[in-house]
């Protein structure tokens, strides 16, 4: 049995948005993890493994865009994240799954990543900071910003929906 296979695949699938790419990335990651496992010291291998998965995925994303050098992600450069005050608790409860998935896929991978790691994998801020290699303060602000952007994307998508939206 391969430990944390689902967690690894989930992160890769969300980052790469492509099933076959995600499978290849996860396979890559496990091979690398196997090679460097003797250097692992700790009680929970999941964040460690997810770091490797994440790095493999970002390499592939860069290859897709054919950028030579990694650009540091600029949290501010992705448009003002206005806070839609209209969304309320009731609206969130009615949000459809497909709409949520579509909205999340529209976000930049760095925003998607923190949301997936936090909401779906249940990692704490500290663990997300380790996996994404950013300070905890950045995790907090990026997560808050990602949530705002997700909300805005949902509103935009819902407005196009023929039936009830947010």
């Amino acid at each position: 049995m391969l430990p944390h296979l689902d967690a690894a695949y989930n992160l890769a699938r969300w980052l790469l948005r492509h099933e076959q790419d995600a499978e290849d990335a996860v396979q890559d990651a496990f091979v690398r993890a196997h090679q460097s496992f003797d250097r692992f010291r700790g009680t929970d291998a999941r964040p460690w493994l997810l770091t490797i998965v994440r790095n493999v995925c970002y390499s592939r994303l860069r290859d897709r865009r054919r950028h030579a050098a990694p650009e540091p992600f600029d949290d501010e450069a992705h448009g003002a994240a206005h806070d839609p005050a209209e969304a309320n608790a009731l609206a969130w409860r009615e949000t459809k799954s497909a709409l949520l998935q579509q909205a999340l896929e529209q976000l930049a991978p760095e925003f998607r990543e923190v949301l997936v790691l936090h909401e779906l994998e249940g990692l704490a801020y500290r663990e997300i900071a380790a996996v994404a290699d950013i300070p905890i303060g950045t995790v907090m602000s990026r997560l808050a910003r990602a949530r705002q952007k997700l909300q805005a994307a949902l509103l935009a998508l819902a407005a196009q929906e023929p039936t009830h939206g947010l």
């Binding site: 689902d6 695949y9 010291r41 009680t43 929970d44 309320n88 608790a89 009731l90 949520l100 949530r147």
Partner: protein, 327 residues
Amino acid sequence: MDCNETRRLLDADSDGELDLVRHLEIEAHLRACPACAERAAAIRARRAALRESLPRFTAPPHLAAKIRAALPSAAAPVAVSAVPVATVSPAASAVPTGLATAPAASAAPSVFAAPVAPSAPVAMVSPAAASVSAAPAAPTAPAAAPRAERAAKIIFPLWQFAGLAASLTLAGLVGYTWGHARAHAGLVVDEAVADHIRSLQASHLNDVASTDQHTVKPWFAGRLDFSPPVADLAAAGFPLTGGRLEHLDGHPAAALVFHRRQHAINLFIWPAGPTALSTARAARQGYATETWTQAGFNFLAVSEIPAAELAAFAQAFRASQTPAVSP
């Protein structure tokens, strides 16, 4: 605390990432401020929507086999077969609880069994052995480690061949089912202990923080497709302090949080289905665990309190679920 400060911290608070002082300050503000309270409710609803509606993708069935085939089987993997390998080297600090060994009868070499090196051997503890002998194994580990390591080096190439033949024959035996169940139970304990540790490290113990069982129990409705039994064992010295959603053994589960003095106890609850766990006690890395099944639910308690106290907790919980017999 004013509205601006509260709004700034609401996200982190609902994520359970704030220290207790600020959390209480925010709670106090929310009680007095309907606008912020409404915002907090929206944040909670958003969180619930994300967790419930966002797909969490699981690996396609063929991927595991594909990966195992791609992993090099050289460099001294320890094939876990019917023979328990039961040494835990103190130098390697801890066996990662998230990494599980293969079921007892599988022939596949255990993934992430590290190369057996003289300086810091990390031996995978077979679940069957661990649940029985983890406690006595620990004190003898320093002496046993070098011997077992040499033995493992000698034995393992044989086991790689023999293991394949053994698993084929074992598959036809009743013993396979028993071993698989034991191994499975051990894996579930591993997972639960990892969840317990993570909940403590992140201070993310509670999604719902309340000592009132009549608040905690209904909180799970709509979030889980079952209603977990909840009890307040304050009279027995184990007050209920809250609960949260968890995931265990492939199932959504409820985690009830109790406290014993300042120590947390996580009680994981999920429907038993066909895979009811047998009553068992096990130790992992200094944490005591107790497993049992009652009224169609699996229960798994994890805590750092002594095993005897955890046994008392389990006993008290089981008793609370049994209708009192009137004389």
